[in-house]
């Protein structure tokens, strides 16, 4: 699990578990990258659902990181919106390529996250949650009243699809307009998610992750041993906002439009719910949460007016019976052990 744990607990079954972990992960990747897109190549709706789930997972990974510093962040929608508008404005008003807009949108969201974070991260608990919730709404209203620059309520449309990305005349990524667009976006979303989870996994298992965990448990104590608390919590929050910005840029270019209500308070709440329901203790928690819940929601489409009702009942049931998230199902041995110690 971590460099610390590796040095301290040498379980007999540890190497076997690492190998089987790798096999499971490899199988998932094969299904995700090869089986699913080829099987559903002719069903753009399903491809779009999986793609959306991928990028929602990606955005939620950022929120998950702010959980590790002990903050409930209901403001991720704001940064998805900021990233989305950054891409929209840069590509339509300045004619920049999407491949420049995408990282820039993340960086802009991250920078704004640093500025906000320096102030609001002093707050904890419900106060931080409330101010981030308000932030989502404030940013939405900001874009709504942005005049010609943001396009007001209808927003910005006719955003170009990603163009060709080449290096020395070799095409690295083809023009999205000239290939199967759904497949192209599917792979873009998949690559983002895989890179995104790799980075978050690496952060949380390195010493950085331990520092974040120490902040979650006691900021005063962290400060007393010389940890620059303000610096690390802003760092975690800025990374979270970066993820939000990248995700927002993706949705903007895949919809080819953006308007202020694309990401609202409800979306911010959903990002949190994906983390909660997937399991806060696991890096893969937000991914499992986002995939299962988002796909479930789409499947319940058949129920028409009862869709929301059944969906909420399922979510409430998960919270009641699996308070540590869906992934806690996977670890009966571990949960038994920790219960034993507590007794």
């Amino acid at each position: 699990m971590s460099s610390v744990a590796q040095g301290t607990r040498k379980g007999v079954g540890a190497p076997n578990r690492a190998v089987s972990m790798r096999i499971v992960l490899g199988a998932f990747l094969v299904v995700y990258l090869i089986v699913l897109p080829s099987y559903f190549a002719e069903s753009p709706y399903i491809l779009r659902v999986i793609t959306t789930a991928s990028v929602l997972s990606f955005i939620s990974l950022g929120v998950w990181l702010t959980f590790t510093i002990g903050r409930i962040n209901i403001g991720q929608g704001a940064f998805a919106l900021i990233g989305g508008y950054a891409t929209a404005i840069l590509s339509t008003k300045f004619g920049m390529s999407f491949w420049v807009c995408l990282p820039l949108s993340g960086l802009i969201a991250g920078l704004i996250g640093i500025i906000f974070g320096l102030g609001i991260l002093r707050l904890k608990g419900v106060y931080f949650a409330m101010i981030t919730l308000s932030l989502t709404e404030a940013v939405r209203l900001g874009f709504l009243s942005g005049g010609d620059f943001t396009g007001g309520a209808p927003g910005i449309s006719n955003i170009p699809l990603p163009d060709e990305l080449g290096l020395f005349g070799i095409t690295l990524i083809p023009d999205f307009g000239k290939v199967d667009t759904h497949i192209a976006f599917y792979y873009l979303g998949a690559v983002l998610l895989i890179l995104g989870v790799a980075v978050i996994w690496r952060i949380s298992s390195s010493r950085l992750g331990w520092i974040f965990k120490s902040l979650q448990q006691d900021e005063e104590l962290s400060r007393s041993v010389g940890i620059n608390v303000a610096r690390y919590r802003v760092m975690a929050y800025a990374i979270c906002c970066f993820y939000g910005g990248i995700g927002g840029a993706f949705f903007t270019v895949s919809q080819q439009s953006i308007y202020p209500s694309v990401f609202g308070v409800l979306d911010s709440l959903f990002f949190i719910l994906y983390c909660f329901l997937g399991g806060l203790a696991f890096v893969f928690g937000p991914i499992v949460g986002a995939f299962l819940l988002f796909i479930l929601f789409e499947l319940l489409h058949e129920l028409q007016q009862y869709q929301q009702l059944i969906y909420s009942l399922i979510m409430i049931s998960i919270m009641l019976w699996l308070p540590n998230g869906l992934l806690s199902l996977r670890l009966p041995a571990a949960s038994w052990r920790s219960r034993n110690i507590r007794d």
């Binding site: 390195s206 950085l208 331990w210 005063e220 400060r223 007393s224 041993v225 010389g226």
Partner: protein
């Protein structure tokens, strides 16, 4: 030259004066204790020295350098490290993880270095593990080293708190009520432990209520009452000081252990 000098320190909360014109100097290698009735301003004084709150006026000088009002983590970096009352630990980590995390000040690798697991970061990790093991051994926590901190028996919590502080390599260690809630045997063990830390060259400041332990362990004692200094001297001087007996000790002779 004194290691730590406090000059005319004052802290007001609204109209209330919590610490009023306190001055003293702590020499290297000393065990210096601050006592006083509840609400005398002992804990506030600790917070002022370690920069967890800013003084209204006055200065704190450490190794000849004015550290007043610096951020708390910078003060820790300079070597002034505190422990907390009660059970302030990283509850959701094991004992050894608690101590490893607390080695922050010794890390030479950058955040990016830790992210990419650079050779320097790996060397840091290795060193922290070794150092954590030796701290755990010195403080007698080996038997619980892989225990989740929140499951620890009460007696070990304060030792873990001290182990966390030791990981930051303090020059001056400020212990906030290290003996409170302990039975005489546990107190004896921690008294020995504190002496052991001092013998390793670390200057100790204590806030404590347990008079028996204070009189045994301290080189000098500062008595506070209502935020002001009542007396400053060796244990035997304090025990016979008229003002101290008047203000504080006289009422409860048995607390003194005389």
């Amino acid at each position: 030259m004194a290691l730590l000098t406090v000059e005319n320190l004052e802290k007001q909360f609204g109209g209330l004066i919590a610490v009023n014109d306190v001055s003293f100097a702590v020499e290297t290698g000393e065990i210096f204790t601050i006592i006083g009735p509840n609400g005398a301003g002992k804990s506030t004084l600790f917070k002022l020295i370690t920069s967890f709150t800013r003084p209204t006026s006055g200065r704190v000088i450490f190794e000849g350098e004015d550290i007043t009002g610096l951020p708390a983590h910078v003060v820790a970096r300079k070597g002034v490290v505190r422990t907390f009352q009660e059970t302030t630990i990283f509850k959701e980590m094991t004992v050894v993880e608690n101590v490893i995390v607390a080695h922050h000040l010794r890390s030479r690798a950058s955040s990016l270095g830790f992210f990419v697991n650079s050779p320097l970061a790996r060397r840091d990790e290795q060193e922290f593990r070794e150092s954590a093991n030796s701290i755990i051994e010195i403080l007698g926590l080996e038997t619980v080293r892989n225990e989740q901190a929140r499951n620890l028996p009460h007696g070990y919590l304060r030792e873990l708190g001290i182990a966390i502080a030791m990981a930051a390599e303090p020059k001056a260690l400020l212990l906030d009520e290290p003996f409170s809630g302990m039975n005489p045997e546990e107190t004896d063990r921690v008294v020995d432990m504190v002496r052991g830390i001092r013998d390793r060259g670390i200057t100790i400041l204590l806030v404590e209520h347990d008079m028996r332990a204070v009189m045994r362990i301290s080189d000098r004692i500062l008595v506070l009452n209502f935020g002001s200094m009542v007396a400053l001297g060796t244990p035997s001087e304090i025990q016979t000081d008229e003002a101290v007996i008047e203000a504080y000790l006289g009422r409860e002779d048995d607390e003194l252990g005389i």
